[in-house]
């Protein structure tokens, strides 16, 4: 048996060789936990040789809240409220995945109104998430204007959420069995206005940043992730598609009403930072297209099919559901004993935790400056990594 438990201090120990000349010395340097380019409290230990990155060791846990442990003492409706504290930019999808697994386990059939509204909200969430990412990527690479543009346009969508949901960030709107409330009477009108506003803005983004020579130089052929390694590393979402794997759960296992709409999956060819950039910009366009196809056809119907006063008890067994958030595949596993209304075990397979480890692979041999572009192009949200 060869189980050895190590620690971080052992991991970053460099054997001291007294006579090594200065120019070949390897050393570790901390990036974070409080670093603007890591988008939160993510700490990266960089093993450097000069300015060349030899290894990236992410150190996690600065905002670990034990959501899975808390989940064992709350019921499924209460658990929904914890999920949008994970990936706060995909809060709708996080709520939805809990609802999805509960509905799958209890075999609840949903009506079209719920499915349409959920799909529209999820796509709006995806657009605003990618807008924020676009702005932050610009800022990471030294352009401040995209950051302001991204936040300005994101406001239009968060305003719609505020009117219907009551919140701008932590939604708690999609519940097992339906929606927390019906959509606001202004919802359809405002979404249409927002889409006519957003569509030319995406072209403006392209004009402002995509053709910029600095962005091109800093993203093209930087951080290349080959397709087979991306699959082995469990990378999903836009980074996987940028590597040339056309795997999108909305297409492969359609949930909601994705099987009724027409949209195309953006796929890259090289798998570098530029492809990851391009895939997300294209996804914004496709999301607008999806919303436009659905917004006029929301059918009538009830918006909550499970009476909130009743306990939800899932049959005994293990249940797994997943969907595509703005960052990749979010999976949820529930093990239930069939008696209690609380789960025995609840596990979130978060996209960011699984995408994070590709940083080491794509940054080896590159410069520290490129590492910033790599982290930014993976679009990590740290509360989702730590949970």
């Amino acid at each position: 048996m060869s189980v050895t438990i190590t620690s971080l201090s052992e991991r970053i120990r460099i054997p001291e060789t007294a006579d090594s000349p200065l120019d070949t010395q390897e050393y570790f340097i901390n990036m974070g936990p409080q670093h603007p380019a890591t988008h939160g409290v993510l700490r990266l230990m960089l093993k450097l040789n000069g300015e060349t990155v030899q290894e990236v060791i992410p150190v996690l846990g600065y905002i670990h809240r034990g959501i899975e442990k808390i989940g064992e003492s709350v019921n499924y409706r209460q658990f929904v409220h914890l999920t949008d504290r994970m990936d706060y930019l995909s809060a709708m999808m996080n709520n939805w995945v809990v609802a999805m697994v509960v509905e799958k386990a209890t075999k609840t059939e949903l009506n079209d109104r719920i499915q349409y509204v959920r799909t529209i909200l999820a796509e709006l969430e995806r657009i605003q998430s990618h807008m924020l990412w676009w702005g932050v990527l610009g800022m990471d690479l030294g352009a401040f204007t995209p950051f302001l543009y991204g936040f300005r346009d994101r406001e239009i969508i968060t305003d719609i959420f505020e009117e219907t949901v009551g919140c701008r960030l932590t939604m708690n709107f999609i519940q097992p069995g339906g929606l927390m409330a019906d959509i606001h009477p202004n919802f359809v009108k405002r979404v249409k206005e927002a889409m006519t506003y957003v569509k030319p803005k995406i072209d403006e983004y392209e004009e402002l940043l995509s053709g910029n020579v600095i962005l091109q130089e800093r993203t093209r052929n930087i951080g290349i992730l080959p397709a087979d390694e991306a699959i082995s590393l469990g990378v999903t979402g836009p980074p996987l598609r940028a590597s040339g794997v056309p795997y999108d759960l909305r297409k492969v296992e359609p949930y909601g009403v994705y099987d009724k709409v027409e949209f195309r999956t953006a796929v890259g060819t090289v798998g570098d930072c530029w492809d990851r950039y391009w895939v997300r910009v294209e996804e914004m366009r496709q999301s607008v297209k999806i919303v436009e196809q659905l917004i006029d056809n929301i059918p009538e119907g009830k918006t909550m099919l499970m009476k909130p006063a009743k306990k939800i008890i899932i049959p005994k067994g293990v249940f797994y559901s997943n969907l595509e958030t703005a960052r990749g595949i979010l999976g949820i596993l529930i093990a239930s004993d069939g008696v209690s209304d609380k789960p025995v075990r609840i596990h979130m397979r978060s996209p960011n935790y699984n995408n994070l480890w590709a940083v080491d692979r794509i940054s080896r041999g590159s410069r520290v400056g490129d590492l910033v572009a790599n982290v930014s192009s993976l679009d990590l949200v740290v509360p989702d990594i730590d949970r």
Partner: protein
């Protein structure tokens, strides 16, 4: 609790009929057995010493080609005194999902690492080690991932207790 408190239409799920996928895995003769519990996708279970052989076969054999380990975690079955390790495999080419379940004793939780088959397993296993204390034999870098290196105990075990934990009283409704 009376039956009227339960959402109607949710009694016991019928177990899935054994799918073609499970049948072909059982035919491999790698000590895999049909999953005893209730799962919502094709599922098999295997003894812990046959795990690595089965997973390697499922990954390398072009008939199965499970090229992605989409999720790996553990479930603490305290009353049976075992940890259940669950591996959700996914095949991008065949678009099939499979659950592989392994039971290991709680007092000696050792399982072989599958980080040589899928790279992401290295970090998913580190998470399971951190929260459940399952030791992975042959793991290249087994250490805590969320908690500090000197943390005592493994929080997601059902019998875990520390001085800072709040006990929850059940609310009578």
């Amino acid at each position: 609790m009376s039956t009227s408190d339960i959402i109607p239409g949710t009694p016991v799920n019928e177990p899935l009929p054994q799918s073609e996928l499970v049948k072909s895995i059982l035919a491999l003769d790698l000590r895999a057995a049909p999953y005893e519990g209730n799962a919502d996708c094709p599922a098999v279970q295997v003894p812990v010493d046959g795990l690595l052989k089965l997973l390697t076969k499922l990954r390398r054999d072009p008939e199965f080609n499970f090229d992605m380990l989409s999720s790996h975690t553990a479930v603490d079955r305290l009353e049976q005194n075992v940890f259940e390790l669950v591996y959700y495999l996914y095949s991008l080419t065949k678009q099939k999902r499979l659950l592989v379940s392994v039971l290991i004793p709680r007092d000696n939780p050792v399982a072989p690492t599958c980080s040589g088959i899928w790279k992401i397993a290295e970090w998913q296993e580190r998470e399971v080690y951190d929260l459940f204390g399952v030791c992975y034999d042959g793991h290249p870098d087994l250490r805590r991932v969320f908690l500090e290196d000197d943390w005592q105990g493994f929080p997601l075990r059902k019998d875990y207790h520390d001085d800072f934990m709040l006990t929850r009283e059940p609310i009578e409704s």
